[in-house]
């Protein structure tokens, strides 16, 4: 069939061009901003900046995003989730330099860093080595760092008593702890990744509470946000997009998660670190990448878009920013696994019902009788999970409903 189907796809053709189809602009003589210095950076393929204007505008972008929301009060403690890479380094440097300012624009909250050990696929020696590097690295920024272990947290049934320590040598790092994670990944990589994301969020909030932090900074970049948005869509978590990709995640009443790097791309922050003479710590972050999971597939798709159609990535982010949470008639109905509101059906027939009906009719010897208008065909009325979490429920070793 023609790709223009009956829905009639039309579009303005602004964003569809391949970058390589554009003629490259000759590098501008002067910096776009100060109109004086010779430019040394081109952003978004068009804005030429000199080094000093680039650094100023990068920091400004960071502070403008925080300033716009005005959530953090003077003296509040903020937990900074550090997991290496250029984004982590740039974030630490933004914080250090702006805490040290001698001007009214100075940042006045108190950052505390957290590193979550989840590298069960590495050898014990490699893991200790990583932890030591991070510990030493933090000293250059003079920000305290705490360590905790994700597998430890899961193994202990998501207990509040999971070890949170300044001394990385106290972490238990026997390779057995990764066994159950490996099991999960073998069953379904996509669901295992999803479970991991949910558990990290829970652990972050648990640690923030223990350290008396009202806020958490997480280091997702623009491409991470775009990926997450598409991952949410593919997992059936469309209604959670504002919580999972927006600037703030307010699901927990005590601790708010903020995403202060969501307006940056990796190139900007790598250049920032380069000009500030900062070396970033590169950790082997996850299992070897495969195309077998929704998350890895979409990450590669977005990286490809970023390279060839960067305007489309921006569009995806803007799409997400214009979505909001459905007004839930019954606000108390929160999924016990992901803490998001459970979807309320607002149409006569939902996808969930259609799936349940399909399954029933494909497994029962007799045709489904009864009243096709009223029977619920296995749809759970008082479900305790959202649509997506009903799939991962079986993957969780603990069904404890304790609140984080």
């Amino acid at each position: 069939m023609c790709s223009v189907n009956d829905a009639g796809d039309i579009e303005d053709l602004n964003n569809t061009g391949l970058l390589s189809n554009f003629k490259y602009k000759v590098l501008a003589e002067k910096c776009n901003k100060c109109k004086d210095e010779k430019p040394c950076v081109i952003l978004r393929k068009k804005d030429a900046y000199c080094k000093s204007c680039f650094l100023t505008s990068t920091v400004h972008k960071f502070k403008a995003l925080l300033g716009k929301h005005k959530l953090i009060k003077d003296g509040d403690k903020v937990l900074v989730y550090y997991h290496g890479g250029h984004s982590g380094t740039a974030l630490l440097h933004f914080l250090r330099t702006n805490l040290d300012l001698n001007s009214p624009k100075k940042l006045r909250f108190i950052p505390v860093c957290l590193f979550i050990e989840k590298h069960y696929f590495l050898s014990r020696e490699e893991r200790i080595d990583n932890l030591r590097r991070i510990f030493n690295y933090m000293r250059t920024f003079d920000i305290p760092i705490y360590f905790t272990s994700l597998t430890d947290y899961c193994k202990n049934g998501f207990s509040e008593n999971t070890l949170l320590t300044k001394n990385f040598e106290e972490l238990e790092l026997d390779n057995k702890e990764g066994e159950f994670m490996k099991d999960l990944f073998e069953k379904s990589e996509s669901l295992a990744n999803d479970v991991q994301t949910i558990n990290i969020r829970k652990l972050l909030i648990s640690c923030a509470k223990k350290l008396k932090c009202k806020f958490i900074f997480t280091p997702e970049l623009a491409t991470d946000i775009a990926s997450q948005l598409l991952v949410n869509t593919a997992l059936g978590r469309g209604s959670h997009i504002p919580l999972d990709t927006g600037f703030c995640d307010t699901r927990n009443e005590h601790v708010t998660i903020l995403r202060p790097l969501r307006v940056f791309d990796i190139k900007e922050l790598a250049l920032y670190n380069h000009f500030c003479n900062l070396d970033a710590i590169m950790l082997q972050t996850d299992l070897p990448k495969s195309q077998k999971s929704i998350q890895n597939l979409i990450e590669n798709f977005v990286i490809d878009l970023q390279t060839n159609f960067p305007a489309t990535v921006t569009t995806v982010l803007k799409t997400g920013d214009k979505l909001s949470m459905k007004k839930n008639k019954n606000e108390n109905r929160i999924c016990y696994i992901c803490q998001s509101p459970i979807e309320v059906a607002c149409q006569q027939l939902t996808t969930d019902e259609a799936i349940k009906y399909s399954h029933q009719i494909s497994t029962q010897p007799e045709l489904v009788g009864g009243d096709i208008l009223k029977d619920n065909f296995g749809t759970v009325i008082d479900t305790k999970t959202c649509f997506s979490c009903s799939r991962i429920e079986q993957f969780l070793i603990s069904t404890s409903t304790e609140k984080v």
């Binding site: 790709s3 009956d6 829905a7 869509t233 997009i241 996808t351 259609a354």
Partner: protein, 341 residues
Amino acid sequence: MSECSRKCGSTAVLKRPKTGDKLCKECFFEAFENEIHFTITRAKLFRPGSTVAVAASGGKDSTVLAYVLKELNRKYKYNLKFILLSIDEGITGYRDDSLETVKQNRDDYEMPLKIMSYKDLYGWTMDEIVTEIGRKNNCTFCGVFRRQALDRGAHLLKVDYLATGHNADDIAETVLMNILRGDLARLSRCTSIITDSADGIPRVKPLKYAYEKEIVMYAYFKKLVYFSTECIFSPNAYRGHARVLLKDLEKINPSIIMNIIHSGESIKVNETSKMPTLQNCTRCGYVSSQDICKACILLEGLNTGEPKLGIGKSSKVKKSLENRAKTCCGGTSQCNSLSST
């Protein structure tokens, strides 16, 4: 292959992508048809006694739709009347065979057939348009015209409903596409099983939860005659991206298609976001987000020898239109006949 999941004793011939269950041929027919019956009944798609135009392209989706509707209407006494409605874009060779297939549908399913051409509806065939503007932007024309063609046709036929063959894969793909191109208005309505058009003829999608793979299998096992063809012009870039992404995701797990439809259904667009308010085109009366609908703008361009009009920035179009004498649709009079009724 293993035994049928319904324990009927027969050997399974396929594994259902939606649920993973394995079915024999007879059980598959029953399951597939009953799901569509479930969709129609549960979502209250049709009022008894209505006349339904079935959008017929000769392709697998519309062929299966027409066949199943006829079967279900007989079996469950919906008391519906059907008319096949086909659009002829006027692309040499493109519709010749598919229109033959539609005529076959007409005879096989004993449904009257109405073929409407772009020439009838707009005064131009696609071939003439391509001659005018070249192959670069012709998909814009074809898309805009096709979007309205079925609604205009349904209106002229004075039917109560327009049923289209959009399947689950199409809808999931459209959700992804609308995210990629930031079309919030379409994102929020593309998963609706019933959508209203301007003149009050609802568009319904009885195959919303039917997988493309199963539609193909159904047509194959039932030996239904359909025609498969690709448009000879170039595809839409966003739909292209969305299609590639969906096909890859489907390989990981076919249930992702249903997940995406669920996501689309549960997404809510921020009330403060600027959403184009739908109004009626001042020229043709068709539902539009602007004073003058895209089809009328494109026609204006074609009829005044400025075919690029409406392809570029919309502000430019507005200016250009303001400077023109206001002849409806450049004088084809097609538009007026609709708005006056």
